[in-house]
Amino acid sequence: MYDKILLTTMGEYMDEIIEHTLNLIQGEAEVICIYIVETSVPFLTPKKVKEMMIDELTAKGKDILEDMSKGFDKPGINFRKLMVKGNPADEIVKAATDEEVDVIVMGTGKSIVDKHLLGSVSEKVVHSAPCTILLVRTAN
């Protein structure tokens, strides 16, 4: 049913997201796992600190994508890693459009308090995604 799946992760609740994604796959499928290095910082953040943040997030992203690939090391699954810089919601929608995926799998991630304090990537994606979305309940 779903031949091409876009999977998003920030490194949390990976087991739950992998489990639900595997449940979607019947036969063969291409799974693209995207990690977004969020580059935006407030105006007064020192330049060196911004560079340090991007370096650390990139290293963290590589580890996360590597861990995710192990979860999809199964016959019939073609796993692809994608790391991009930018705004998470915009980049997820752009990747889904460019790759013409059938479904986006992402975690709900946050509690109601976190959602108000930090904002919600999944909420923004829901409003502009070009395809079906599976939101995996991951909040505690």
């Binding site: 407030p42 060196k48 943040m53 997030l57 930090l118």
Partner: protein, 320 residues
């Protein structure tokens, strides 16, 4: 009223100039250091430790050297209290969770506590920051920097064992030197303007200069605020807590250490018997909260912010 508005506006503009000038200065100095062949590790460690703290250091230095030592001392101690209780507290509330590692708490947390304890004991015993105290503070910072560089080197060595080495070869150009000079000039002029505005505002508001310095710390710590809050929100926990400890160590050991080599810094009794002990208490409170599970939760963030509110309200009402 108009004069008050102009002073507040000038203070905000000066703060932005200082923060941006510090950014340009640090960036250019790192480039110059690389071109001169100084180790990237040494430059990286120093730049990250100094980077966010230059506005406090510049303001404290200029204040002390231009006859307003209370503003300088208030700014350094006020920044340390705000860094822990305000900035880290607010960041923990927003991020929900900030984790840390035992080795970082042992190294940076212990040093931050030792720093605050040293300056408080010195103040209680001597009532001022003399040349000898300044030498001790600077030696402590050099030792801390050496420990940081050693830790960074061992972690880089591990990376080199598994990965390819990124060789960098940079040339020193005139633009970089010019930017470093411009950054330094901007820093000096901006800090002078900050101190002038703070002193004038304290006269207009009839508050002691040391209290004005404590309030000034809200502005000079803006780079720490944005660094810690953004890192915590992005899950870069080591950077969040490391910035606070690093800044607190720098503010005292260098922020008060360097000026005390040039002039003995007199300190108000209220700072010796109230502000400095509060700084020690806040450092201990943070270490106690972190050590329980190597993390700061939202509830612990609220405890820190509540502690700051109690401190600042007490300072503004009872001890102003």
């Amino acid at each position: 009223m108009f004069e008050l508005f102009i002073l507040i506006l000038a203070l905000i503009i000066s703060l932005i100039i200082v923060i941006k000038a510090a950014d340009v200065f640090v960036d250019s100095i790192v480039e110059i250091g690389l071109a001169l062949g100084i180790s990237e590790i040494i430059l990286g460690v120093t730049a990250s430790a100094v980077g966010t703290s230059l506005p406090e250091f510049g303001s404290a230095m200029i204040a002390i050297l231009t006859g307003s030592p209370d503003v300088g001392v208030g700014c350094a101690i006020g920044a340390n209290i705000w860094n822990i209780a305000g900035i880290l507290g607010v960041s923990a509330i927003f991020a929900g969770l900030i984790t840390t590692k035992m080795e970082e708490v042992r190294r940076d947390g212990s040093m931050a506590f030792l720093t605050t304890l040293t300056i408080t004991v010195a103040l209680l015993l001597m009532g001022e920051i003399s040349f000898v105290v300044g030498i001790i503070l600077i030696i402590m910072y050099v030792v801390y920097l050496w420990i940081l560089i050693r830790a960074q080197k061992s972690s880089k060595d591990r990376e080199i064992e598994c990965c390819e080495v990124d060789e960098k070869n940079r040339d020193l150009n005139k633009k970089t030197i010019l930017m470093a000079v411009l950054g330094l000039v901007g820093l000096a002029i901006g800090c002078r303007a900050i101190v002038y505005c703070t002193v004038e505002l304290s006269v207009m508001a009839s508050i002691p200069e040391v209290l004005a310095g404590i309030l000034l710390a809200f502005g000079t710590t803006a780079p720490e605020f944005f660094t810690v809050l953004t890192s915590a929100k992005k899950g870069l926990n080591s950077l969040a807590i490391g910035t606070v400890f690093g800044s607190n160590i720098f503010n005292i050991l260098i922020g008060l250490g360097i000026p005390s080599l040039l002039v003995t810094i007199p300190v108000e009794p209220i700072t010796i018997y109230f502000d400095a002990p509060v700084m020690v208490f806040m450092t201990l409170l943070l270490l106690f909260l972190i050590k329980r599970g190597m993390k700061l939760t939202r509830v612990e963030g609220i405890i820190l912010v509540a502690s700051y509110i109690i401190y600042i309200v007490t300072r503004l009402t009872i001890f102003s």
